[in-house]
Symmetry: C2
Subunit: 244 residues, 2 copies
Amino acid sequence: MTGSLTVAGLGPGDEALVTPEVSAALAAATDILGYGPYVARVAPREGLTLHPSDNRMEVQRASEALRLASEGREVVVVSSGDPGVFGMAAAVFEALERAPQWQTLPIRVLPGVTAMLAAAARAGAPLGHDFCAVNLSDNLKPWPLIEKRLRLAAEADFAIAMYNPRSASRPEGFGRALAALKEAGCGERLVTFARAVSAPEERIETVRLNDATPDMADMRTLVIVGNSQSRRVGRWVYAPRQAR
Amino acid sequence: MTGSLTVAGLGPGDEALVTPEVSAALAAATDILGYGPYVARVAPREGLTLHPSDNRMEVQRASEALRLASEGREVVVVSSGDPGVFGMAAAVFEALERAPQWQTLPIRVLPGVTAMLAAAARAGAPLGHDFCAVNLSDNLKPWPLIEKRLRLAAEADFAIAMYNPRSASRPEGFGRALAALKEAGCGERLVTFARAVSAPEERIETVRLNDATPDMADMRTLVIVGNSQSRRVGRWVYAPRQAR
């Protein structure tokens, strides 16, 4: 009996943003693995085993998922948003690289609505022109590389979606990111703070970067820095399609 | 009677990638506007008027949608993928900027699975680390700006998702983009060509950038250039989460 491994994105929070493809995979699963709060979004049922685990356990979790699949289970590893954007997909392939015996298992990655798309939709169209996505967590990369990327992104005039801007264990980084962007000449750009997008406690706020302070973001906030052309129309923010 | 305007993303093609939120909006609509091939994805029914229009008519289409909403219609403007990523959302806000009398209309943007997420999922996890999205169409921006962004993205070591790499009216651009990336030292990077993702005729191919040729992309192809760390594991391509 051959099992399978599916890596699925649950979207930003609202069930109405879970794709039918992902819902079908969850309905067919025997085992769900993931970070606790994400596994908690899957309803328990007869025949389904939930395996919540801690944050920063990504590769161990991925290895366990591969092992279960190799034993014939129908395994789904869940991420919030899209699993390919700072989610579990890369961790699964990292685990697979270490364990070549599992490379013939049926593996699928199912995309989802990543946080920056949901946040942008609520704000208007701040990603309507070229843009980049930068993970501000320095767990897996040195801080100077993050600053370098922000400076180059500013020079390229990308809108910049910043994931994981701030956490209890990294309170300083986001302030340094804002300072780096000011230094790079982005002070007048519009910055949107999108907290808990699509959840009941959602809050969206847009200010000039010069007026942004580090405490405006927390672990559940997605930050979008507009490009140099971004502007307001009514209550919306958008990046014009035309650029010079 | 007040109507409403909804800008909705239909995802890359497969109905299983349309969010329930978007399906509900389509079911409640009286009028659907969009580029012909996207409007054709919505099933006709009693009480629903379909308004297909040509490509490059984005702002006219958006103005017409606003006018219909102001007359009390429940209007949905459709994009493929996500409407905020090189889709109709920015065009709607552009039209709204020109017609302030409509700024009090109820407007919603509904996110969708954009092509790069679906393409990345099929290939593995090439966007698993920081990345950017660049529209290679020079209809709305000068070509030198595109090349500048590609060079800076290479220097930042972003993975690069390239939308609209090639069309009949712009056969030359994609070759120049590949040349610029080679010059920027990206020759050894893995490049994934994802054509017609999630449609029956889908085709995914990964080669080294040095071996990529312009004819490997067409209008329906999404191209993802990996970062310097991207590698293969089995039949997959992924960007490791760790960076130096």
